[in-house]
């Protein structure tokens, strides 16, 4: 297969589907006239597509329409009797007699949250009890200097003897 054949074979489906412009179409048909290999490919493609067309349409089953109109009626009934959550919220909020009290309640809530005092001492105590081991370690760290002095104490005798000498 030469370069022309490769190019033509890439265009065969578009050629068959009538998707090539005039110049491209002429190039493909000209090539097919003189190239038996590409012509065979084209004929096989055409036959395959004809064979695919043997798969005929189906007809809807006998109760297709009845089932559809029932489904639609059920959906409409649901829509009428049970509005969705968002549409319910929207309709409530757009009603003036509801919107004003809701806005006031939201304002009060925001004010209350913002004015809430910071955690008090009792909260800190509870936190310390819950994390006692952590606080014990903190104590140990606090006394780190004292621990370092242990070495001095241990060597105290030697130090005293040195100072006497």
């Amino acid at each position: 297969m030469n370069r022309d054949c490769k190019k033509v074979q890439n265009d065969l489906t578009a050629y068959l589907d009538g998707e090539l412009d005039g110049k491209q179409r002429l190039a493909v048909s000209g090539h097919l006239e003189k190239c038996p290999g590409c012509l065979h490919e084209f004929e096989t493609l055409m036959e395959s597509m004809s064979m695919a067309l043997e798969w005929k349409d189906i007809r809807p089953s006998a109760d297709f329409d009845r089932v559809f109109w029932q489904k639609l009626a059920a959906m409409r009934e649901r829509q009428e009797t049970k509005p969705g959550f968002f549409s319910l919220v929207r309709s409530l909020l757009t009603a003036n007699y509801i919107a004003t009290p809701v806005a006031l309640a939201l304002l009060l809530l925001i004010t209350f949250v913002q004015s809430k005092p910071s955690p008090d001492a009792s909260f800190q105590d509870k936190y310390m009890i819950m994390h006692m081991d952590l606080f014990l370690n903190l104590d140990a760290i606090d006394k780190k200097e004292a621990l370092e002095n242990f070495e001095v104490i241990e060597a105290l005798d030697e130090l005293e003897q040195d100072s006497v000498q």
């Binding site: 493609l45 005929k56 189906i58 089932v67």
Partner: protein, 191 residues
Amino acid sequence: MVEDRHAQLMLMFQSGDSGAFRELYEEYRFPLLNFIYRFCQDRRIAEELCHEVFIRVYRSAPTYEVTAKFSTWIYRIATNICLNELRSGKYQYELESSYPDAQGKEVPVYEDTNQERADDSMEARERHAAVRQAISQLPKKQRLAVLLSIYQQLSYRDIGERIGCSEGAVKSMIHRSKIFIKKKLKKHVGD
């Protein structure tokens, strides 16, 4: 004035004319059902999904605007349903060799197509099965594109609009798909 008659019907339905919706349903149910059926190859699922398309059309009436041809719009809905509903796992999607009829009796899938009769030769049945199998093996989007090309003979541009792809992408998908189908049907076409 809207030139697209189907879009005009949809606008009439939007204004409260329920007869316009019925007309759209009558015109589109048959081609849509076949499009979906060839995609999923299961009559029961195809019918359910086809109903779903029309229910979505019904529900979108209040917000409908003519931004494209009505046929493009409704096939876009069908395409999304084919790709998403089957992916959701709501439907047990597989090629079935039989399905239960209204009485619960198993009916072979060949009888499902309404065009194959008892006198169909074994060869015809084999050819039919080979076509169905070849198409079912295509990736979903390629399958949608090739179905619109073979069975509705739409232009690549129209196919692109319906399945949400560029014309170039459609050309490439259709080329690959048709070459794949040709290879799969090789022994039946005397290659």
